[in-house]
């Protein structure tokens, strides 16, 4: 007898990206994307991370050979830059995509991984940190399949002010899951949006990290081995 028809399996990271798409498009967020090879300007300068500033050390960078100062984007934030340059507020986007960090790999670090960031810009007072909290709780509750609570702690990312780390209470423990904040006025003016008139929030998180939390995957590298014994579990 011929073999039964088998159904293939979607990669766990695609599951997460699809969930992001489902949850956020319902809230009127568009999916935005940009190239993985980026300019220093989009990846750093316009995001208020000037050359020779110690904040640059927060992103270990792969630089590309050639005359131009090009690099592999270290975060999906340049997608925000590109989108804000080309659109006028109100803005609502999420930007899932591959990013790169020049670092030694281990169970929780990879030289390539996936991120998604969210950005919402509107008139002053219309989009506050309270909206950020509401949206994150909404997203994470849907994604994780149970009502979760988010907590902000002070942190620093040059492209937001204030900047926060976001912890999520999941299965009785606080997990550090995202970085977020209110878009820095300098970033807004860098991309041609008047910070006197508009404000917004931005957040970012690792898609690999979300998959690890949701599915209990212990090692980030498992996703990139092409091993169907792993992938077919999802």
């Amino acid at each position: 007898m011929k073999e039964q028809t088998n159904i293939g399996h979607i990669h766990p990271l695609t599951h997460v990206i699809n969930d992001v798409a489902v949850i956020f498009t319902e809230l009127g967020f568009s999916i935005a994307r940009g190239p993985q090879i980026e300019t220093e300007e989009n990846n750093f300068d316009l995001l208020n991370i000037p050359d020779f500033h110690p904040a640059r050390d927060m992103w270990d960078t792969f630089w590309l050979k050639g005359d131009m100062k090009t690099l592999l984007r270290t975060h999906t934030s340049p997608v925000q830059v590109r989108y804000m340059k080309e659109h006028t507020p109100p803005l609502r986007i999420v930007s899932p995509g591959k990013v790169y960090r020049y670092e030694a790999t281990d169970a929780t670090h990879e030289a390539q991984f996936y991120q998604f960031e969210g950005l919402m810009v509107d008139k002053k007072g219309e989009v506050t940190m309270a909206h950020l909290k509401g949206i994150l709780e909404y997203f994470l509750s849907k994604f994780l399949g149970e009502k979760v609570e988010a907590r902000f702690r002070p942190s620093f990312f040059p492209f937001v002010e204030p900047g926060v780390e976001v912890d999520v209470r999941f299965k009785g423990k606080w997990l550090e899951l995202l970085g977020a904040g209110m878009v820095h006025p300098k970033v807004l003016s860098n991309v041609g949006i008047n910070p006197e008139e508009y404000q917004g929030f931005a957040f970012g998180t690792g898609i690999d990290r979300l998959a690890m939390v949701k599915y209990g995957i212990p090692d980030v590298r498992l996703s990139y081995q092409g091993d169907l014994r792993f992938i077919n579990q999802f």
Binding site: N6, A21, Q36, A104, T128, I135, E165, P218, Y224, N232
Partner: protein, 633 residues
Amino acid sequence: MKISYKWLQTYFDEALPSPEKIEELLSLHSFEIESVERRGDDSVFDVDVLPNRAHDCLSHRGIAKELSVVAKLSLKKREKKEIKDIGRSAIKVTVEDADICRRYSARLIRNLAVGPSPDWLKERLEAVGQRSVNAVVDAANYVMLDCGQPIHVFDAQKVSDQSIIARRAVAGEQITTLSGEVKDLTTEMLIIADSEKPLAIAGVKGGKGAEVVEQTTDIIIEVANFDPISVRKTSRAVGIQNDSSKRFENNISPESVPDAMADITNLICLLSATEKIEIYAAEDVYMHSQPEVAVSVSALDVSTLLGIAIETVDVKAILDRFAFMYTQKDDVFTVTVPHDRLDIRQTEDLIEEIGRVYGYQNTPSVTPVVGGVYKVDKQFYYSTKIRKALIGCGYSEVYAYSFVAEGGVEVKNPIASDKKFLRRTLAPKIRECLVQNSTNSELLGVDMVRVFEIGEVFVGEEEQVHVAVGAMRLGDKKEVWKEELKQVVSLLTEELGVTVEVKIEDGVAEVNLSAVFEALSTPATYDDLELTLSPQNSKYTPVSFFPVVLRDISVWVSSEADREQLEMLITKSAGDLLARAPRLVDTYAKDGRVSYAYRLVFQSSKKTLLDEEVNVVMKRVEQKIIESNWEVR
């Protein structure tokens, strides 16, 4: 930054809250605490001070100030000890480039006896991971860790003409550092020199030439302020990063210099004075003083950005906790920013200060409204469509690494020599993946392994999205795969409604989707993709690396209706060692009965299974089948 609990206590009269409480307060209001370590009767916090607060908080004093705000504790009043100096300086300080040497203060002290440090000082330094050298070197280190201002000390007798010059290095100049390395200096670099030779790489590392040793009796203390970018460039160029360079490159206030000079002078005198000690006045060259900055904020500003309900009186109370100087006009506070708070330059910065002290954990949560119109991303739409079609045909999705041994775009700083390039095609990894998985085909329960990847490749300057599809059965001829792939191609054509150009090579089909997408129109919604949330119950189970043992079993049952029950019985009686659901490999009907043949795959997560162990399981399975009045063939 390592912070000692006992050291922090010196800043307060009242007893500090417990280390656990401090950890909680600082994490919720100020900084992430990486760890808290017990060390004898002390506790050491590893505080993650990020660049926005590295101006003022890479020090015990900075953390103490922060703690006073978030724990509502009063800082002890600092007693100013008068320094009885001779009244003249005896050193000539020349600053040649005031843009990068923003302030330079130097003091000569004669007739010291440099011995080992007393126990209290050694303990303090050791608690925060520093090694004791001698009393003078330790004092300089201590004051830096206490107040955040790096300090350097020269042996005055090794400095020619008692002259200190802050100048750019001359091409070809070299210095032997305190750790004995010879460093080439360039004209980009600021150095500290005497009339003859370089004494130190400014803000980065001292030179061996004027090192303070046990025999040293006369010293020149340097308390200076250097340009952050200059220090960062120099420290990168010479490959030296340390506590000093880190503080300078984060930008510290030149206004802190006199205070630090007083602290270090007092401490050295306390530790190493002899009866004949001569303390000269500090020579302080400070050309462009730091301008004062004022920033305004109101309760409305805070609630507009943060969405918290806060009143003017709350804002005022928080500004008071910071001990900020301010004026109030109606609801607007104008704060004179303390010189060391280089992070406060605009209203949003003050909103952050108010918000975090008020407590971000008190931020309300505004539930979003479902609805709104999104724009469709063509690539997401069509990639999802293709993915769904492939999954339907039994293809599983893989993600591979972008870094490969050969390609067109090269990385300047690869992580490994075989990962120098960005991939320009997906096919090679798909091929590897097929081979790798086909050895596990029994475990996967398939005759043919089918995989695909949708991902970015880099062709010259262009970034393209490709899909690569491969199918393989061990032992089969490549023609079989080709048949498979032809079906895939017609499937893609059908799904996308356009003819796609497919490259089939060595068992793998690859398509440049970017080119295909260009010709396609953007749909209005994602609705026809019928995307839903992924199943919540998937949980990862570790893959076992022990070999599998295969057993086939054929069973006569009375009708097809028994099949489901039979499979359940086999699964249940086979127990935990059964690695996957029984796979039906043959069906045979005769004389009103049906025979089902199954392939059973056994594997342990702990060991290599022995034949006998599997035999025991098979016996049990057969027994159960017989008990159910079925017949094992």
